[in-house]
Amino acid sequence: MGSALRELIRHRDLLYMLTWREIKIRYKQSIMGALWALLMPLVIVGAGVIVRFAFANLSGAPVQKADIAAVAVKSAPYAFMVAAIRFGTSSLISNANLLTKVYMPRLIFPLAAVFAQSLDFVIASAALGIFLLAVGIGLSVQLLWLPLLFCILLILVIGMAILLSAASLFFRDVKYLVEALLTFAVFFMPVFYDSRMMGRWETALLLNPVSPVLEAVAATIVGHRAPDLAWLGYSLAFGLLFLTVSLATFRKLEPYFAESV
């Protein structure tokens, strides 16, 4: 692991340039520009509002402002996760040309894909912050949890991106498999709803390591509460373990990349 990190640090300028390239290319020749960053979260919030209205209709209780706010704050990290995994998965294939012609630590490609998505996440978060202040969701000390939450999410996403990028190089249908799963991923984690609504199946839902992070985001921002540390610890431990396994797998397969493209 140490050698991988040292090599990355030596090539940090390249990581920076490739991240910059991803961002630059996305925003070049596009009408919407930075609005792209807001599109996905807005769509998710829109869908969430509809789902919430359906719930409210069934239960008879009116839709709360806090419910909508909770969907909104979860939409940004969720959109980030989906986009980072999607672009991370295809990062090696789409750079096949470089892969077979120039040597560089190949970890840079999935990392650059994830980091490029982080910019969108930052833009979306800023817009979200303004929106939340406008609708009267106040500030609290609990917001200090957010950097940690983002780190845990990043660890999970990087682990996925690294593993899937390598896998999709060897098996071309991994990409389609990932697409299919991401299409419906929103139902397997608490974005539109709270995990509490699952009743006694709550634990099953929270076993998805992304779920506790999303719940923690809603708890700290909207609920002004401290997150559930036990579940958060589970997510972090899962993320670190998964990242370790992914890294080891990636490093083991790396010598065969150029031959398998």
């Binding site: 300028d13 390249l14 920076y16 340039m17 490739l18 390239r21 630059k24 290319i25 070049k28 020749q29 040309n97 470089l98 892969l99 077979t100 012609k101 120039v102 040597y103 560089m104 060897f170 098996f171 071309r172 249908d173 991994v174 498999l177 010598p255 150029a258 031959e259 398998s260």
Partner: protein, 413 residues
């Protein structure tokens, strides 16, 4: 332990022939097939082959080293192993210092980005730090000659401009070890000369350079030592002139018989006064020997030799009958040896010798052996083109304008 810049020890590289499973959909039936022993054991190993076998060599710091061989001999594989793109199946490769490769120099370009942006992108891909690029930026742009288009997306570049920009970035990486493939042929004539000058500078500055090339002339001129690869193994390692002799000599064995069945050329040999040779100077004498064997009687044979340039454009030919020898008569089993002496009025370049056997009366070919031998000519720097007409400068004066010359306005108005 040594001051070698590059150390390759007992390198083996295995490849697999044919399809690899590249989707899960293929893998699952394949795996279950294997589990139920639907395939014979050992099939996988049969499909494997060695691209390189037990290759070892060292390149000293500051040395220019050549790797030559036929297509498929393992040159490109060696290159990919040296750059680290692939890893050897076994054996070790040690590189001391920063290694950079002049292959596919525009691989890192993105069409939507401008020339300026691509210089930074490609520079970091080739191993430069952003600071280093910033420092060399003006030099790179000046070298490419693309100042006017540097803020244009490279998708609007012509392919020549594209390649020039790529080479310009790569030429300014300043590595400790430089690998050069066939890239010195990009751009127009003037740019090519710039590239060659740059390469010479790089070598003079003490950079270790490894040439991997079909361009035997470049290898011959620039590298003292070379490695000859044949079917993935080291056929020879030594002084370039010896290696080239062996390589070009060896190519005689690879001939596919073209026309001759009952009358065939068995050998074409190029010699100087000391014996077989591949390197000549413009104006040298050269002896071309053609040996042929008849399997049945022929009474109207003439032997032709032709010299072509490295693009197979014919420059010269001569034959026994035009040199005053009557048609040759060969009985079955008889052999004939003809030696032609020529004076090499050729300028610098790579040339090939083709041998022909013709029917004297009808001028139909019996046998043809194209590119039977290859030789190099070192020529005076003053001459370009295939032939040396021995130019001398006999007059060169600067004259004042004539007062009455039409078209030139006289200063008096």
């Amino acid at each position: 332990m040594s001051d070698a810049a590059l150390e390759v020890q007992h390198v083996f590289k295995k490849f697999r022939r044919g399809e690899i499973y590249d989707s899960l959909r293929d893998l699952i039936p394949a795996l279950s097939g294997r589990m139920f022993r639907a395939r014979p054991d050992g099939e996988l190993t049969q499909r494997e082959f060695w691209a390189l076998q037990d290759v070892s060599f060292e390149v000293a710091r500051g040395e220019a080293f050549g790797i030559i061989g036929d297509n498929g001999a393992g040159k490109s594989t060696m290159l990919k192993l040296l750059t680290g793109i692939m890893r050897p199946t076994s054996g070790s490769i040690q590189v001391r210092g920063r290694l950079s490769a002049l292959i596919e120099v525009s691989a890192g370009f993105h069409p939507d980005l401008t020339g300026r942006e691509n210089i930074f992108l490609n520079g970091t891909i080739l191993g430069l730090k952003r600071d280093e690029i910033r420092r060399r930026f003006d030099e790179i742009v000046a070298f490419s000659g693309l100042e006017a288009f540097i803020d244009t997306p490279v998708k609007r570049y012509s392919s020549g401009m594209f390649a020039r920009l790529g080479f310009s970035v790569a030429a300014h990486v300043d590595p400790d070890v430089l690998l050069v493939d066939e890239v010195l042929s990009v751009g127009d004539y003037i740019f090519q000369r710039k590239c060659v000058e740059r390469m010479t500078q790089v070598i003079e500055r003490g950079t270790t350079v490894v040439f991997i090339s079909h361009n035997l002339r470049a290898v011959g001129n620039l590298c003292k030592r070379s490695l000859l690869l044949q079917r993935g193994t080291v056929a020879m390692l030594g002084p370039t002139s010896d290696v080239l002799k062996r390589y070009l000599g060896g190519s005689q064995e690879r001939r596919a018989l073209e026309g001759g069945r009952d009358l065939e050329i068995t050998r074409v040999l190029v010699q100087n006064e000391h014996g077989p040779a591949v390197e000549f100077k413009s104006g040298d004498r050269m002896w071309i020997t053609v040996e042929a064997r008849a399997h049945r009687r022929h009474d109207d044979v003439s032997v032709v030799v032709q010299i072509v340039d490295d693009r197979n454009y014919p420059l010269f030919d001569t034959c026994t009958d035009r040199l005053g020898r009557e048609a040759l008569i060969l009985e079955a089993g008889q052999r004939v040896t003809c030696t032609f002496e020529v004076e090499l009025g050729l300028a610098e370049g790579t040339f090939h010798v083709d041998g022909y056997l013709f029917r004297y009366t009808t001028n139909e070919p019996y046998d043809r052996w194209a590119t039977a031998a290859t030789f190099f000519v070192a020529g005076p720097a003053a001459v370009r083109g295939p032939v040396n007409l021995h130019p001398r400068l006999t007059a060169c004066e600067v004259l004042e304008p004539l007062a009455m010359e039409p078209g030139v306005p006289s200063p008096a108005g």
